[in-house]
């Protein structure tokens, strides 16, 4: 498998809120020195709690947010080196599906107009060809073609998410970044969308970056999973390895914390103390050191680097050095 996306030492910083009369500028390190690759045709999951930087990561890869430093290689090209118009040309190769199916579609446009927008932006085909494409993608995404003239605001959440997916796929991209695509949906609708995404991946040979906080969904759809905590990658492994043999203490507690839909599996869980620290003042050393049940002295001072444990399993923890 060839890597489609190569992320190297990616950093995304936001200027933090400056307190009155404070001279030094505080910086929120939303993504801090993260490197990984996404292979052609796979689904890479990114999990983590709110504020861990997984959404920022997804947007930075698409250059919707400008990375502070680091490189993003897409199909062998360095996206950061492209000019604004070149980047816009490239956008047809990587698309995004958004979390909120309500705010991600302009309520003033019809389905047809929404789906026509990417085709128009990249000047693909004449009107007739575009309409054909729109009807085709609608059918593929399970939307009746008679819906084309309807307005987005008339649809339910599930239908809207289908429109969102159709919009992302109409340009036949190679990479789709899906930012929590099912977390706003009901369980019965969620499974429809997940199945649709799987079918589409097969049909169009898509590569997914699947961002979610739901470990069940991630397990279901992803080949590999990266666990993020406070802007850093804590663990990256194939799905089987990660769920069967989590190494990082954070991954362990995260997996332990998920309520399982089976009352017979109620068990003692690892309950973490305290909250996720704000990214503006993450602890020195290992970001997880403030909550880690296995914390050591070294954790508080030196930040662990990603270590390859096996071929397809790496972890950033001093326990495994």
């Amino acid at each position: 498998m060839d890597p489609l996306v190569e992320v190297q030492q990616l950093q995304v910083f936001y200027p933090g809120k400056n307190k009155l009369l404070q001279k030094t500028k505080s910086v929120v390190k939303a993504v801090d020195h993260v490197s990984f690759t996404i292979n052609q045709g796979e689904t890479l999951g990114l999990v983590g709690e709110s504020g861990c930087g997984k959404s920022t990561m997804g947007r930075a890869i698409l250059h919707l947010i400008k990375p502070t430093s680091g490189e993003i290689g897409f199909a062998g090209r360095n996206l950061s080196s492209l000019s604004a118009s070149e980047l816009r040309q490239q956008r047809k190769h990587f698309q995004m599906v958004f979390q909120d199916p309500f705010s991600s579609l302009n309520p003033r446009l019809t389905v047809k107009e929404i789906l026509d927008e990417p085709l128009k932006a990249h000047r693909l085909g004449d009107e007739h060809q575009r309409l054909e494409k729109i009807h085709h993608i609608m059918e593929v995404c399970g939307l009746n073609r008679t819906y084309a003239e309807r307005y987005a605001h008339e649809f339910s959440g599930g239908q809207r998410q289908r429109i969102g997916i159709a919009r992302a796929l109409i340009l036949q991209p190679q990479l789709v970044v899906a930012d929590e695509p099912v977390s706003a949906l009901d369980v019965s609708i969620q499974s429809q969308i997940l199945n649709l995404m799987q079918d589409l991946q097969e049909e169009f040979h898509l590569t997914y970056l699947f961002i979610s906080h739901d470990l069940g969904v991630v397990r279901h759809i992803c080949n590999r999973v990266g666990v993020m905590y406070l802007g850093k990658m804590a663990e990256l492994a194939t799905t089987e390895q990660l769920y069967a043999n989590p190494l990082h203490p954070y991954t362990k507690t995260l997996l332990s914390a998920i309520p399982v839909a089976d009352p017979r599996l109620r068990k003692e869980r690892i309950i973490l103390q305290g909250d996720v620290p704000s990214p503006a003042n993450s602890p020195q050393g290992c970001a997880f050191s403030s909550r880690c049940p296995n914390v050591m002295e070294i954790c508080k001072e030196i930040r662990p680097d990603m270590q390859q444990v096996t071929d397809s399993h790496s972890v950033a923890c001093h326990l495994y050095v």
Binding site: R59, L62, L64, R88, Q89, Q90, R91, K92, Q95, M96, F98, Q99, D100, S103, S104, L105, N106, P107, R108, E117, P118, A121, H122, E149, R150, Y151, H153, E154, G164, R167, L171
Partner: protein, 514 residues
């Protein structure tokens, strides 16, 4: 989903807007005002810039009857015969109200002002007065003529006679006998005193006169022949022809009394006008609302209704153009500031802050002070006053819309910034801009009127509501209609714009959801 009808945003908006009864009413009134404004110059009954009097002829309106009074006078002689009289002495007791002239027994009265006055017609010792009301109604009757009846038979020396006095009032009533006259006189004069009070500037002079007026004054022309006591007892003293003159105020009459001599030729004892009370309309200026002039006329006798109609266009023009210019500039700058942010935003926001630091009207006056008075400058001033407000709201909603995921989605697709602004951001803020636009038009009209009122509008004689108010303000104590109708027009328009804007906001604001 199956049977559901597809509604576009526009249809949804209409559906919801129709429920706002007040706004719908306001909307239709506004449509009416627009149409009036558009059609204004063609439907005004009179030329709004010229006095109506000049226009009556071209319009084929004959108002001479109403406007000038013609009175025929005849003289009544002591033997009861009627004779034409001429070369009478005429006097209008208040020249501010009317002027009079006479030619061969016909008196022409031309009103110049409004109020109630009298015209005195005198020849020799006989004086009659006519009550003249110009654009005034319900004035109490006054005394117009007196007549002393001469003695029935021959008069001898030493006779003591009581002559019968007859007074005619302006409403046609006759009072006969001294007693009756006396008792009514006080009442008559009293009423007139208060009336003249109101309509006349020369208070002191009139007061003195009216004190004298209360008396019945007898006088004999020849004391050797006849003596008259103050209560009208005539005593014949010697042979000859004497005359007794009686006067109440300016009205007087005489009666010849021949003592122990045959009657001479008859003398004039009474001037009988064809009308004793004449009501006229003042048409020089400030005509009252009537069927001919619905809103009356102003100080230059221009038809206020026509001027209000003609002013509609001007006023709306100021409102729309100034707010339109302001909104376009403001929206553009606001969009730039909101969408691109960073230094563009900083510059534009500072500029807005500076402009907003001035009170609106002061800012407008400052602009006019720099540019000079005039309609175009008013529009510009109001636009300057509108720009920062639009920058603020547009920037705010651009910032909010920029956060919408669908804008991010468009970016992720690779849509150009310009297309994103035109397709996603501008339509999204259009409701807010529209609401503010309608509300601002009301304010702009007010401000424009205020500037005109202050005389900053250039041509103060132009039919513009603010200018009309300004021109009429000095007379607003006496005449309500020159200020009332333009004022009402402003109020109605502004209220309608505000109601309509409120309705729009209620319909558009809570997002267009079912």
């Amino acid at each position: 989903m199956k049977s559901q009808k597809t509604y576009s945003f526009y249809q949804l908006f209409l559906k919801k807007f129709k429920k706002q009864t007040m706004a719908v009413i306001a909307f239709w009134i506004l449509i009416g005002i627009f149409l009036l404004g558009l059609a204004g110059p063609w439907i005004t009954p009179y030329d709004p810039n010229r006095p109506v009097t000049e226009q009556y002829e071209e319009k084929g309106i004959d108002r001479t009857n109403e406007m000038t009074g013609m009175i025929q006078i005849t003289g009544i002689m002591s033997d009861g015969a009627e004779r034409p009289v001429s070369e009478v002495m005429l006097q209008s007791s208040n020249r501010q109200i009317s002027s009079v002239s006479e030619s061969s027994g016909t008196i022409t009265i031309t009103p110049v002002g409004q109020g109630s006055t009298t015209v005195l017609i005198a020849k020799g010792d006989v004086a009659t007065q006519i009550q003249l009301d110009v654009s005034v109604e319900d004035t109490p009757p006054i005394l117009t003529q007196l007549l002393l009846h001469g003695p029935p038979g021959k008069v001898k020396k030493g006779d003591i006679l009581q002559l019968e006095l007859e007074a005619t009032l302006s409403n046609g009533d006759k009072l006969v006998g001294l007693e009756q006259i006396r008792s009514n006189l006080q009442q008559l004069m009293g009423a007139r005193k208060t009336d003249s009070h109101e309509k006349n500037g020369f208070l002191t002079a009139r007061k003195k006169q009216s004190e004298e007026v209360g008396q019945i004054h007898y006088q004999s022309t020849d004391e050797k022949v006849i003596r008259v006591s103050p209560d009208g007892m005539v005593t014949a003293l010697g042979q000859g022809i004497g005359q007794v003159k009686v006067s109440i105020g300016p009205v007087s009459t005489i009666v010849p009394i021949a003592v122990e001599t045959p009657q001479q030729e008859p003398v004039l004892v009474k001037i009988k006008p064809s009308q004793t009370h004449i009501a006229l309309m003042d048409n020089r200026k400030h005509q009252q609302p009537s069927l001919l002039h619905w809103f009356g006329t102003d100080h230059q006798n221009r038809d206020i209704f026509s001027r209000v109609l003609a002013g509609t266009r001007e006023t709306l023009f100021i409102g729309f153009v100034s707010v339109g210019i302001g909104a376009v500039i403001g929206t553009l700058l606001g969009l730039l500031a909101g969408y691109y942010g960073r230094w563009i935003d900083s510059i534009i926001t500072r500029l807005t802050d500076i402009l907003l630091a001035f009170p609106g009207i002061l800012l407008a006056i400052a602009v006019i002070a720099v540019l000079g008075a005039g309609m175009v400058n008013i529009i510009f001033a109001v636009a300057v006053f509108t720009v920062p407000i639009f920058i603020r709201i547009v920037r705010g909603s651009a910032l909010a819309l920029k956060q919408m995921t669908y804008v991010e989605a468009a970016k992720s697709i690779g849509v150009q910034d310009f297309v994103i602004i035109m397709r996603h951001i501008l339509p999204g803020m259009l409701p807010v801009v529209m609401v503010y636009l309608t509300m601002r038009i009301g304010t702009a009209i007010l401000l424009g009127a205020a500037l005109s009122f202050l005389g900053l509008g250039g041509d103060i004689t132009a039919p513009e509501w603010g200018a009309m108010l300004s021109a009429a303000k000095d007379n607003s104590r006496n005449f309500f209609y020159p200020t009332f109708f333009p004022g009402i027009a402003i109020v109605l328009t502004v209220v309608c714009f505000n109601l309509f804007g409120d309705g729009l906001r209620d319909t558009l604001d809570p997002k267009l959801k079912e």
